[in-house]
């Protein structure tokens, strides 16, 4: 099976994406799908799980 391609994003980008998700939910809108994926980025500590978007 081909290895899944990974994209690394900075912690700041993830924090911004999580804030976007929170603000969009409070505004009653759906967050941008791509940004929501960034918000759900898993930490780079081996095999950690993706955190729930804040």
């Amino acid at each position: 099976m081909a290895e899944k391609k990974t994209i690394r994003v900075s912690r700041q980008a993830v924090e911004l994406a999580r804030l976007h998700v929170e603000a969009a939910r409070r505004a009653g809108r759906k967050p941008e799908p791509g940004v929501a994926r960034i918000a759900g980025a898993r930490p780079d500590n081996g095999n950690g799980t993706a955190p729930a978007p804040a």
Binding site: K5, Q12, R26, A27, V35, I38
Partner: protein, 134 residues
């Protein structure tokens, strides 16, 4: 018939009006005081709300400037400030859209348009770390 007895005749209706006015005038004055006090308090509350909003928007502007400055500490400070404002409900619901749009555009800018286009692909795994994007 009362002439010479020093008694004046006041019509009954004038007496009634006099008594009513005597009773009502302090009540009207009291009502006026209450109304004035209510209007002053209402105006104070509106002014207070306006001051809060002004201060909140100043903080939002500062947070946005910190985020746009681009350095790590500034971005963290800006994100924490915006999140705190939102959770404290100092931000009005109509401001949430502004925060959502701003954070989305900055996040996409930090990640880079090319990488962001890749992220839309379901086969890509997004990892948080000091990587090549953002």
């Amino acid at each position: 018939m009362y002439e010479g007895q020093g008694v004046s005749m006041i019509p009954t209706w004038i007496s009634v009006v006099g008594v009513v006015m005597t009773v009502l005038s302090p009540l009207l004055a009291l009502g006026g005081v209450f109304l004035g006090s209510y209007l002053t308090r209402k105006s104070d509350r509106e002014l207070d709300t306006w001051r809060h909003r002004e201060e909140t928007m100043r903080m939002v502007r500062w947070a946005v400037e910190q985020i746009l400055a681009g350095d790590e500490a500034g971005t963290d400070a800006g994100v924490v400030t915006l999140r705190s404002l939102m959770r404290s409900e100092l931000l009005q619901p109509e401001d949430y859209d502004l925060v959502a749009a701003l954070t989305a555009s900055v996040a996409i800018d930090r990640v880079g348009p090319a990488a962001y286009a890749d992220i839309a692909d379901a086969d890509i795994e997004v990892v948080e770390g000091d990587g090549e994007h953002g």
